[in-house]
């Protein structure tokens, strides 16, 4: 397997009490897969993402990428954050070039690469602008271009569209699907939005809190260019709602 997560646990100490953010999580991810980690807050989905990306040390277990133990963040993978993490003092272009600067490329080569990815996300007219002059959706596009510019093998996305309005969000979901299809990256995508997960993922890993663990793994066998209002889509969504016990028949205790 490309990414192997084996019996991973992660404990935090809080006020002298041990809090289990992840408890014995195991998961295999294959190369080129679009995987969504879905769950309510506190279920450890971001912790799991950070563990695979190498930002967080795990308490026990092992995470391997391509057969190698993950010890820290690697330049081969990049992470997209909910608040974009763009550097406000740099233009769009120079933000995109951040990861390229240490490669000792000629200026022209560097601009060629950044131009390519800025075009890819449709921001060619804005490459001399500063992030604060752009809308949230455009800022996240810059972050995507910056991530792709270093040609990573894996893209980690931590609720990247969480701060966007519904319409922009849908556009960005289409955009990331298109990019994923074109560049065949492995994408691990954290979200708490069920429909977003159904729309994007090859597989959805459903997580639950206290302690953070995997509750179910669902394969989404819909084709790409998905329709959000067809029966198959609803079926999968209902299935997930069932797993979360959010359907009405389970909520009957509220009436007592």
């Amino acid at each position: 397997m490309y990414i192997e997560v084996k019996n991973v646990s992660k404990d935090f100490k809080q006020h002298g009490q041990i809090f289990k953010a992840l408890s014995d999580v195991s998961l295999d991810i294959s190369k080129g897969e679009f995987l969504c980690l879905l769950g309510p807050s506190g279920c450890g989905k971001t912790t799991l993402l950070n563990a695979i990306a190498g930002f967080d040390k795990i308490s026990s277990g092992s995470v391997k990428i391509d057969g190698q133990e993950v010890k820290g963040p690697s330049a081969r993978n990049t992470t997209l954050f909910q608040n974009y993490g763009l550097l406000p003092w740099r233009t769009v272009q120079s933000n995109v070039e951040l990861g390229l600067e240490s490669r000792k490329l000629a200026k022209i080569e560097m601009h060629e690469i950044s131009d390519k990815y800025i075009n890819l996300v449709g921001l060619d007219a804005f490459k001399k602008n500063y992030p604060h002059q752009l809308s949230g959706g455009m800022q996240q596009r810059v972050a995507i271009a910056r991530a792709l510019a270093v040609d990573p093998e894996i893209l980690f996305m931590d609720e990247p569209f969480g701060a966007l309005d519904v319409i922009t969000r849908a556009n960005m979901q289409d955009e990331i699907t298109r990019i994923w299809q074109e560049y065949k990256k492995t994408i691990i995508f954290v979200t708490h939005d069920i429909e977003e997960a159904v729309y994007l993922a090859d597989r959805i890993v459903i997580m639950a809190p206290n302690p953070g663990r995997i509750k179910a793994v669902i394969k989404v066998s819909l084709g790409r260019g998905r329709d959000r209002d067809v029966k198959e889509f609803f079926n999968i969504r209902d299935n997930i709602l069932d797993i979360f016990e959010m359907k009405n028949h389970d909520a009957i205790e509220y009436f007592l």
Binding site: P73, T78, T79, G85, L87, P88, W89, S102, Y130
Partner: protein
């Protein structure tokens, strides 16, 4: 526009009151604005005022720039290695409230007289605000920027120069602003020790020559230059905030 007008009215009122008051006293004790402005222009005409201003500005620039650079560099260092700062913090906190003037005897002993005492005093006055604001700024750099740096495998040095320094720059500029004010205030004191030129010297020289009109001319000049320096750095600060995407100044 309205603000400028109010300012002009205030200024005219001050000059009027000053002129009226001056009529009551001997001009050797308290010269009026007319005399002062006349002497001021004379000092410009014979070139001595321009010389004094130039000398003072040069000393100030050296003291301030050395303080700014060393304050930022050391501030970055201590801000980054917070544990080390814990050792130095008490020392700095004891040193900081000491007026640079208190060091004058030692400064003269160690550096003699001339340009250096003034430069050292300006340095001492400007250094602490820059150092402390830089340390605070580095501590407050948004963690996401550090994650981005890790993400793109930046070295420690690159992280400091490409991420931490620019990210903390808006807050550092607040310290630089404060330092320009205090530094300028202590220029006069610095130039009163054994200097033979500069605006501080002009004040001593005017006293020795019993020329209160020169004295006030020197004081006015110091005030006006102080104001201009402040306006300049305010403008620079504003440009920084605009470029950094903050529409208005906010700390922390």
């Amino acid at each position: 526009m309205k603000k400028t007008l109010s300012g002009a009215v205030g200024l005219i009122a001050l000059l009027t009151i000053w002129q009226l008051a001056a009529l009551k006293y001997n001009s050797v004790l308290f010269p009026g604005p007319y005399e002062v402005i006349k002497s001021w222009l004379d000092l410009f005409k014979d070139g001595s005022m321009t010389e004094h201003i130039k000398t003072s500005m040069l000393r100030f620039a050296i003291g301030y720039i050395v303080a700014a650079i060393s304050g930022i560099v050391l501030g970055m260092f201590f801000g980054w290695f917070k544990k080390l700062w814990n050792f130095f913090n008490p020392v700095i906190q004891v040193m900081r409230p000491i007026s640079p003037i208190a060091w004058i005897p030692f400064i003269v002993l160690w550096f003699g007289i001339g340009d250096i005492p003034a430069v050292v005093i300006i340095f001492l006055a400007s250094f602490y605000p820059v150092l402390l604001s830089t340390i605070a700024a580095v501590g407050r750099v948004d963690k996401i920027y550090l994650k981005v740096a890790q993400n793109f495998a930046l070295t420690r040095f690159e992280t400091l120069t490409k991420i931490v320094l620019p990210a903390s720059f808006p807050q550092i500029s607040t310290g630089l602003h404060q330092a320009i004010g205090t530094g300028w205030v202590f220029l006069v004191a610095g130039e009163m020790i054994g200097s033979q030129s500069g605006l501080g010297f002009l004040i001593i020289d005017s006293r020795n020559n019993l020329r209160p009109d020169w004295l006030l001319a020197a004081i006015l000049t110091i005030g006006i230059i102080g104001l201009l320096l402040d306006e300049l750095i305010k403008w620079i600060e504003k440009q920084i905030y605009i470029k950094w995407g903050a529409t208005e100044k906010h700390e922390g």
